[in-house]
Symmetry: C2
Subunit: 414 residues, 2 copies
């Protein structure tokens, strides 16, 4: 079955907001096994909305509209759809009560008159209660087509979709799509894609597709199946093949697991603690590690050593080293890592020192030059990087490479 | 003049990525004074793309397509547009050289054969160099219509648009839209919006509209004018009025200035240094401050004191305080701030201690409870917060509140 999305709202056309609803709905509907070939945005204009609705119904089985269900005169979605189907609007008593109740609960206020139009419902439509706002969702089934109207605000549309729309659509289209996210580090994107080029070409169910992620390579593996058990059976051979090709470079196949979470797990397994000493990344590396709930089991303290003086005082980096080689050098990165581990009494430590830009570069040490030091139980490894992005990107990449380095060292492989 | 956008890419239809290009292009084009009534997404399908292009050209003056310019067989945009215009494709020697050069510089590699199709150009098209990737942009002018083809990746499309496309469009449509972003802190969103409700209703040129930002309130003030000078004249009375109403809660009217940049400027002005001591925010606060190029003038070192032991050893927080009041308490936040300032020899310090969640909460100290301490030249102020988001949101809010607190203290106002 095909589904099409129309996002209603002039603010989207003006670029005032990013259309996250479209991405959310597409992803949800794809997972439900529905095919989508068209998505569009229309402003708060009766004529253009009418045209878009008719066009969509001429080519898709299901049409989902979001937005334009509010109390203002610009909110037209319901009126236009009712007109296209030749339906009258009537006041739904139950919805009117819910709106009154919502105002009392959330705004401690009387309902302003313009809100009543949200209680008007097209004849024959199924009303979907809104538990996070005033405008109800609506489902119309007519002439073999289904039209679903949903409120615009993301915090209203998502709970409504999960609670009521997804089950409804699942009845229409029982076969679903299941996916895993194979996350790989320690290898470049081009190389990784070359290694799966044959699979990307040949595989039809499941399919494999690359996903962008700073400093990592992600492949989404997607299977069309009647239920999760069948999907797992379809996944198994492809996942085994990927495992054969990438070995322990794969750190998870679960979408929600981040590299930092995988590292915290590794440390917990090995009963090890870690620390960080950051210069140019200024806290972002520690920020990623402490993203992980329970990081406090393995991470107790960290250092942001922006100045040379801080590197000496907090980490014991030798002045001679800083004078002879400079703050941005493999020697300093090494001493920072060792010094941090010692100061924190930790088993492992990551250090980052570099030139994020835009200023600070020289011909010998240009912007983008970063050294990462990794100390694990007495042994220190230092890697040199030459990033080519802006300040933000260089810092982001440095953090990603540091985490990857630590994982390699913890696994005992290169 | 009307502009229409078509985003090309099956990954958008599948909801695998959020269509940020559409929002970016809409916003840029609105600022250039172009009207947009249609936006759509089409997959990597020749027939549907052909139909969409023809439809767009039938109703809009300018068509901008993003995506589908890459080296794979799924990349069709250029081929389809050339066909619609009846143009042949020829190999552009200069573009071919640029692609070769890019591969040498960035990938230290030979160009794989499939990349050569990116050097194919429709007859009569203007080639727009890509300084961040391989596929050039293209501009075709035919029968009073303009078609612009841009690469999909956001980090390629944005620089190209700013450098070459915006000036080109500005020639087509000279009257533009100018805007300022009035950024306000130290006041809640509801209160701020109430304070400008009359302006939002009455103002037509310039207009004022609210924008979401964690822990801050932003108002975009937009003027339609023939040039920047006229725009500034239109802005002046409204900006004065906002200044009268919000005083120094406004930290900038420039879109690119962040709260942390405003704070670093304040510190530089006052010739002061600062430090940070973070527990639950784990480096994110320092990360924001070090976002600012030149932060090293005012920020020399910082501490991530995740464990009680780290709070004692690095910051001198008294054991009795930790035992009696706990790590998450105003007393500990105070000692952390004082201790950090002393340890770093800094004039100002921010401390954050709290329970980000999802675990760690108790009835007395629930998830979301955060204390922020702010030390400025001998005086410490502590604020208590009760955040109600998830782990990420709570940490984000804590960082935003901490920065706001420091700004208030530096300005000497509450």
């Amino acid at each position: 079955m095909t589904v099409e999305f129309i996002s209603v709202g002039t603010e989207i056309l003006l670029g005032n907001i990013v259309n996250t609803n479209a991405a959310y709905l597409s992803e949800q509907c794809a997972a439900l096994g529905l095919s989508c070939f068209h998505q569009s945005v229309v402003g708060d204009n009766e004529e253009r909305l009418d045209e878009a609705v008719r066009k969509a119904l001429s080519r898709s089985d299901i049409l989902i509209l979001s937005g334009g269900l509010g109390p203002t005169k610009d909110d037209l979605t319901k009126e236009v759809v009712a007109k296209v189907f030749g339906k009258e609007l009537y006041e739904d008593g139950r919805t009117k009560e819910r709106i009154q109740d919502y105002f009392r609960r959330v705004h401690s206020d009387q309902v302003t008159p313009n809100n009543w139009k949200q209680a008007m419902v097209p004849e024959g439509a199924k009303v979907v209660d809104n538990h996070n706002g005033t405008a109800p969702g609506l489902i119309l089934e007519e002439n073999g087509k289904t039209v679903i109207l949903l409120p615009g605000p993301p915090n209203e549309i998502k709970p409504m979709f999960e609670r009521d729309i997804a089950p409804y659509l699942n009845e229409l289209q029982p076969e679903g799509i299941y996916s895993k996210m194979v996350k790989i580090c320690s290898i470049g994107e081009s190389k990784a894609e070359t290694m799966v080029a044959d699979l990307m070409d040949e595989q039809t169910n499941p399919t494999i597709a690359p996903y962008a992620k700073t400093g990592e390579v992600h492949f989404r593996v997607t299977a069309k199946a009647s239920d999760e058990e069948v999907a797992e059976q379809l996944f198994a051979p492809l996942l085994e093949e990927l495992s054969r090709r990438f070995g322990d470079k794969i750190y998870t196949t679960r979408e929600e697991v981040t590299l930092e979470a995988a590292i915290v797990s590794l440390l917990e397994e090995k009963k090890m603690t870690m620390t960080t000493a950051e210069s140019c990344t200024g806290g972002l590396l520690a920020g990623r590690i402490t993203n992980v709930p329970g990081a406090s089991n393995v991470y107790k303290e960290g250092y942001i050593t922006y100045s040379n003086d801080a590197k000496e005082r907090l980490l014991g980096v030798k002045r001679e080293t800083l004078v002879q080689y400079g703050a941005v050098s493999p020697q300093t990165a090494k001493e920072m890592a060792r010094g941090a581990a010692k100061a924190a009494g930790a088993d492992a430590a990551l250090s980052v020192t570099g030139i994020a830009g835009p200023g600070g570069g020289t011909p010998e040490k240009p912007v983008g030059l970063v050294y990462v030091g990794c100390y694990v139980k007495g042994h220190v490894r230092v890697e040199e990087f030459h990033f080519t992005g802006n300040r933000d990107k260089n810092r982001e990449f440095a953090v990603a490479r540091a985490l990857t380095l630590l994982r390699e060292e913890l696994l005992g492989t290169k």
